[in-house]
Amino acid sequence: MHEFPARRPWALLAAAVLVATFAWLIYGGLNKNVVFFLTPNELLAKGVSAMDVPVRLGGQVKPGSVKWDEKTLKLVFSVTDGTGEVAVQSRGAPPQMFRDGMGVVVEGRFGRDGVFQSTSLMVKHSNEYRAPKAGERPQEMYKTLIKGPGA
């Protein structure tokens, strides 16, 4: 690729134009598709400029805010970073064991009505090993389903 065109100026020019077009396409594509990762506080501080654009919102699920209708599959909860708080609406089932206080990242758009419409919901796993507390083990939480050995 080096040897062939380099001897002719027009080929060099064509290559330069090609590379420039490609770089410009990448630049434009990135500009349009970069998704910011924000906490509720940062999102609220940005105000209108953060509305109706794709955003990733990260924080904890506010205790007591989770409402899920298993018939309509509508999920409503609030994400908080301690001070700020944003209401999130999502469709579909929440990840199992979706619980108060857990870390979540929701991707979607912050609407002008002040509600964050989420298109995808990710649970933040903690990699640290930690034995489940009493009452948290599946055998205990779902006693009626998991009979356990010997039952």
Binding site: M1, H2, E3, F4, F22, L25, I26, G29, L30, K32, N33, V34, V35, F36, F37, L38, P54, R56, E70, K71, L73, G92, A93, P94, P95, Q96, M97, V123, H125, Y129, A131, P132, E136, R137, P138, Q139, M141, Y142, T144, L145, I146, K147, G148, P149
Partner: protein
């Protein structure tokens, strides 16, 4: 005890590697074959030593020797034997050990197979492989040491990451990926060897290198497909590719390796693109190390990133060292790499391959920029961003459809230059295939321009590639009166590199069809069912029978049994489940996939009422997804056909036959 044996083996290997790498230049300068044999012995010894360490680790894992740090980290008495063994590559330190072992294996194989090759290329290549091995040995005694002492010795451990012990593909994808990734060190070592020995001006090293690149490329292709399959079977979202950084890390070097496999032919046949090929080989190797850095340093959080430690700096330093020294060597050789051939015409195979390289390289840069951008943005401006899927799709789809088209044009055109008549005869008939598949896609309801184009170009190129088999086999059938089967077998057997390549193309078309169809025609519904209730997607109905739970040895399971109905009758059941591992509060989804030739019914258990009164399920109909996995198999078959060693006698017979039948092959288009 076993810990000390393994640790000492790794320490000794450090010394052996240094000795071997230094012996090579001395032996070459003094023309001492016996000293060279010492260097080669170092390569074999290193393989033995790393094997000792790897076997020691497996024994430690199987015997639950929790005094070994790595076992304490990933072992658990409750984990089944199978997953205990494969947890060798389930976390950082073990995966680096496995990596070092694969590299030692490749090095030993390369040196053994080529030990009698005249010239200084192989000695210098061995030296380069020893140097790369040295880097990984340093990691193993330093930041990624799996054999540290643990005190007090724990009685039990947490077991491997739940996601990594939930599916049998975990035994398949990582080894394939290592074989593919690590294998790219071999072409790199040959490139270094060619430059240091001065053989870079002959094109023979490219012939040698292309073969080894094919081996790694075959493994890497299989690994990427297996990774997609794993993600499809385990993650429960019904997809197989998300432009996730770790997926990209495996894909980026695949693109440059693919480019090299094609452009190497141009160098062999036409003596062009010499410097370019050298850059592709070096670049591919650097990209595999970069990929390892991305996935192993913890800089990107994912199931592949295990820890955050100092190991990232080692990788960055190594990448910098390789880039600077290799590129300096390439630059120093650039004057000697003048091209001897020239592009005669636009309508020629080499021009098509030139465009193929252009698109593959642009594709590589796109994915690379999109993957690295978040890291750079965070480092430079302190903002946390991610690059969305739309970027990758928008940028890559035009290049993908263009490449699909070129895959048909290239094989149809001859080297050097095609006459107008040839162009017409070869390039026009496949348009029928394009029309047929485009019509099928349109009638099926595809309206997205790239979807229709993808179908059309697959139709075009598949026809063009299949026609090559047809034309060749027909010629043999007519000329020698061979039966069709024999004619086809001898056609492929007589020029396996060429026809193996076309087989690999056909595999890519299957993958492309699977992806295009499943992205375009996927239908999905989610709903909460009580026992007896049903949900219908794309004419396929599932009915909930019951929600159940049970305790298995290493986990608890909640599952739902659903009947798959068709024509009012139950045709079988599916059992999507959630597996609860003691190490993680969140369960691992385990969707149920019911495969048929034309598509999968994919059922995921999303939620359930604790009393079993209802289950929320997601049901997806995914057309042609099985074709992706089949296509991967065909790609690998193609690589196998190309690379499988020719028996010496058969080769001689083929050569004498080719020489004897000067009349026949030309009009039969039997040339590569």
């Amino acid at each position: 005890m076993i810990r000390l044996v393994a640790r000492d083996a790794l320490l000794i290997s450090l010394a052996v590697l240094v000795l071997g790498a230094i012996m090579v230049p001395v032996a070459v300068r003094r023309q001492r074959r016996d000293w060279l044999d010492v260097a080669y012995a170092a390569v074999y010894t290193n393989f033995l030593l790393v094997t000792v360490a790897a076997v020691a680790m497996v024994i430690a894992l199987v015997t639950h020797d929790f005094s070994v740090s790595y076992v304490a980290q990933v072992g658990s008495r409750a984990t089944p034997l199978f997953y205990t063994v494969i947890s060798l590559w389930g976390a950082l330190e073990g995966s680096i050990l496995f990596w070092a072992w694969v590299l030692a294996l490749y090095s030993a194989a390369v040196v053994w197979i080529n030990r009698n090759r005249p010239g200084n290329l192989v000695p210098y290549a061995a030296s380069a492989l020893l140097a790369v091995s040295f880097f990984f040995a340093v990691l193993l005694v330093g930041p990624a040491n799996p054999f540290l002492a643990v005190s007090p010795v724990p009685l039990d451990g947490p077991g491997p990451n739940p996601l990594l012990q939930n599916h049998i593909l975990m035994a398949v994808h990582p080894p394939l990926l290592y074989l593919g990734y690590v294998g790219m060190s071999v072409p790199f070592a040959f490139a270094i060897g060619a430059m240091l020995s001065g053989e870079v001006t002959s094109d023979d090293w490219v012939r040698l290198t292309r073969r080894w690149t094919l081996v790694s490329w075959g493994f890497l292709s299989a690994a990427i497909i297996a990774g997609m399959w794993w993600s499809y079977e385990v993650l429960g979202w019904g997809g197989y590719w998300a432009w996730d950084p770790v997926e990209n890390a495996s894909f980026i070097p695949w693109l440059t390796a693919t480019a090299y496999l094609h452009s190497a032919m141009v160098q062999e046949r036409r003596g062009m693109l010499r410097l370019w090929n050298l850059n592709l080989v070096v670049g591919t190797f650097v990209l595999t190390i970069l990929g390892t850095f991305l996935t192993r340093s913890g800089i990107i959080s994912s199931v592949h990133a295990f820890t955050t430690g100092t190991i990232g700096y080692f990788f960055l330093a190594f990448i910098a060292l390789v880039l600077v020294s290799a590129l300096a060597m390439v630059a120093g050789n650039s004057d000697r790499l003048r091209t001897t051939g020239r592009f005669d015409a636009v309508a020629s195979r080499e021009t098509v391959i030139l465009f193929n390289n252009l698109f593959l390289t642009a594709f590589m840069f796109t994915v690379l920029v999109g993957t690295l951008f978040p890291l750079v943005a965070e480092y430079v401006r302190g903002v946390k961003v991610s690059v969305g899927e739309p970027f990758f799709n928008m940028m890559s789809l035009p290049m993908i459809v263009a490449l699909l088209f070129l895959m048909g044009v290239g094989p149809a055109l001859p080297w050097k230059s095609a006459t107008a008549e040839e162009v017409k005869r070869k390039l026009l008939p496949p348009t029928i295939g394009a029309g047929v598949l485009a019509a099928v896609a349109w009638i099926a309801g595809a309206r997205n321009v790239y979807a229709v184009l993808a179908f059309a170009f697959v139709g075009y190129s598949a026809t063009a590639n299949l026609r090559e088999f047809w034309i060749g086999a027909r010629a043999r059938h007519m000329a020698h009166g061979e039966a069709w089967g024999t004619a086809l077998a001898r056609l492929v057997g007589g020029n396996r590199r060429r026809y193996g390549g076309y087989v690999a193309h056909l595999g890519v078309f299957l993958v492309a069809l699977g992806v295009a169809a499943s992205q375009t025609f996927r239908s999905e519904r989610e709903g909460t069912l009580t026992p007896g209730e049903s949900l219908t997607v794309a004419g396929r109905t599932v009915r909930l029978k019951e929600v159940w739970g049970r305790t298995e040895r290493q986990r608890d399971v909640i599952g739902a049994t659903l009947e798959v109905m068709s024509g009012g009758r139950a045709r079988g059941t599916v059992e999507p489940r959630m597996n609860f591992y003691p190490t993680s509060r969140e369960p691992v989804p385990t969707p149920a996939v019911r495969s048929a030739f034309f598509g999968d019914l994919y059922v995921s258990l999303m939620a359930f009422r604790p009393d079993g009164g209802s289950a929320t399920v997601k049901v997806i109909y995914e057309p042609l997804v099985p074709w992706i996995w089949m296509g991967g198999g065909v790609v690998v078959l193609g690589a196998l056909i190309c690379v499988f060693p020719v028996a010496k006698r058969a080769e001689a017979v083929a050569r004498s036959r080719a020489a004897g039948q000067v009349v026949a092959p030309r009009p039969l288009e039997g040339e590569a």
